[in-house]
Amino acid sequence: MHIFTALITGIIFGIGLILSGMTNPAKVTGFLDLAGRWDPSLGLVMGGATLVGLFASRWATGRKQSLTGAVMRVPSATQIDRRLVLGGLTFGVGWGLAGYCPGPALASLASGGAKPLVFVAAMVVGMIVFEALERMSTRRKQTA
């Protein structure tokens, strides 16, 4: 059941990304280009998505189980640390350079030729590098 709903979520999410214009890097950088001819469209994407999300979040508050009995795993972290800010900044530079963030890049894989493929391959390598660095630093902490 949860595998099925995950598949459906992925499909609807992807259709939303395509319809909204997020899978078009030129449109994303058009939104990020405040000093040029600014395309405000992506503000409406975030606004629309967040508005719907508000209702879901209100429903989820305080619940222990989902509708189908899954344990609710809403993030509980609240600390604002160096990792959060540096990670966000690093991601933002990459986002501005290519016009792709993770979701739209994946939703472009099957239809967008070689370029999204190159981006996703590099992104996955980046994630693997991150995991390797994390494992190294925990090992160092354990031996220290």
């Binding site: 967040t50 719907v52 992104m123």
Partner: protein, 143 residues
């Protein structure tokens, strides 16, 4: 500030945003989880996770979305200005940055903001600012 009225697509973008919000809502209501793409994909690479099946299903749905979209309407044309070298650098930065900062546009930007998470607001401000500055430098300082 000059608005790019020619490329501005308010209704399609709003409708697409509502669909994204709907997807995030379904995921929260049924799976009890946040629909954060970088987290879902990153979890696949951790190897230790015992919850691979739904992650794979989610990613397959996302990758397969253009085919479903194509049933209803022709896919919109896209333009990728970045060359291969830029795409590689950008991909590495996005991969490392989203994992280090525990989220991307979906997890922090959409899901986090709708939960009223201050942590996600800070992350969103960080990546939006970096995105604005990067495009400014690429287009107006170097370009």
């Amino acid at each position: 500030m000059l608005i790019d009225w020619i490329n501005f697509t308010p209704w399609a973008s709003l409708a697409g945003g509502i669909l994204i919000g709907l997807a995030a809502a379904i995921f929260l209501l049924f799976n009890g989880r946040i629909a954060g793409i970088s987290g879902i994909l990153g979890g696949l690479l951790q190897r230790s996770a015992g919850d691979m099946a739904w992650r794979i299903a989610f990613v397959l749905g996302l990758v397969g979305a253009p085919f479903v979209y194509g049933i209803f309407a022709p896919l919109p044309s896209v333009q990728v200005d970045a060359g291969t070298a830029t795409l590689v650098v950008a991909g590495l930065l996005v991969g490392i940055g989203t994992r280090y900062g525990s989220g991307c546009t979906s997890g922090h930007g959409v899901c986090g903001l709708s939960r009223g998470s201050v942590r996600s607001l800070v992350a969103t401000i960080a990546f939006m600012t970096a995105g604005f500055v990067t495009v400014f430098i690429v287009r107006h300082v170097l370009g």
